[in-house]
Symmetry: C2
Subunit: 192 residues, 2 copies
């Protein structure tokens, strides 16, 4: 699990020549069915895509890597080959962000375990995407998970001296992600 969580990074560049299959996407949705949900209400609904046309429809509504000002997103050879659009069915719950995080991380971990990888997008032009996907008004887009076979190297490192949490890319195309030290995350401990 430790190894899996370490390997489960946010990847933004993929091998566009390696397709994602409908079966893989349905497996991920089947896993998401089994996760905890507040009050067991299970308000999440999914749109799955793995065709060039469906993928393009979604891709164009995503904002890529806010901190990489010089990079507009992956070119045609490095685009995701599968997508899971996570929606909240507002007929069941008005909002469900904790449920969304639970399901999205489960999907990303399972994709990673299967040799794939992906990235969660909160920065989505939601209205446009809902129209492009023909979603009913009751479905509210929470998050988009882009999936594929990653072709980039992502490394975690300690915060720099100026304590910036902005990720960055070095000329060797490695993506660096500064993470706070675990001591900083633990506020207090009641132990023996």
């Amino acid at each position: 699990m430790k190894e899996l969580v370490s390997r489960c990074r946010s990847y933004r560049r993929f091998d566009a020549a390696i397709p994602f299959s409908e079966g893989e996407l349905r497996e991920l949705a089947a896993l998401a069915r089994c996760v905890p949900s507040a009050g067991n209400r299970q308000p999440l609904k999914y749109v799955l895509s793995c065709t060039p046309a469906g993928n393009q429809r979604i891709f164009e509504t995503l904002a890529w890597a806010g901190y990489l000002a010089d990079w507009p997103g992956p070119g045609p050879e490095e685009r995701p080959t599968g997508y899971v659009v996570v929606c909240v069915d507002t007929a069941i719950a008005q909002s469900a962000d904790v449920d969304v995080g639970i399901a999205a991380q489960t999907i990303l971990l399972a994709a990673t375990a299967a040799g794939r990888g992906g990235c969660m997008f909160g920065a989505v032009r939601r209205e446009e995407l809902a129209a492009r996907l023909g979603l009913p008004a009751a479905l509210s887009i929470a998050l988009v998970i882009a999936l594929g076979t990653p072709v980039e190297r992502v490394v975690l490192e300690d915060l720099p001296a100026d304590r910036s949490i902005r990720y960055y890319r070095t000329p060797d195309a490695t993506h660096h992600v500064p993470k706070r030290a675990v001591e900083e995350l633990i506020h207090s401990v009641y132990a023996g």
Copy 2:
């Protein structure tokens, strides 16, 4: 992963004689450090507990199993032996529920992989718990994860005819959790 996600249920009864160690709790926090975070801001902070006094302080602020009207929660022999209180540092982000779900599910999966189990609590008397833990005003309690070695059997099943999502317990002490069919969760598919 499929097997792990299936095994990762919400357990509410534990063997109180099997302690949780500080090392285990710190491992879980170390894992949570590595998960995705919106804009990589990493606003979550954790309070860890594995002592009888610390655990009691937290236990008393939790509402157990809303749908089991006759069950006030586990007796002394079946209480959790460890806790992770997940807080949002509001000096970093005002709210971060997707981050909370990502971290909480990662912790629950890792605990499950290690032969433990637990339950996420959104129904927490937050103000009382914040006072009991002496939290600074900037830390807002999002969720409590109770942990231990489970002693109950939890099964997933399809929704009943009346489509109720209320979990229930049968006389053999099995906890039943109705889950929507995966076909119901998939709104649409763009596939070949």
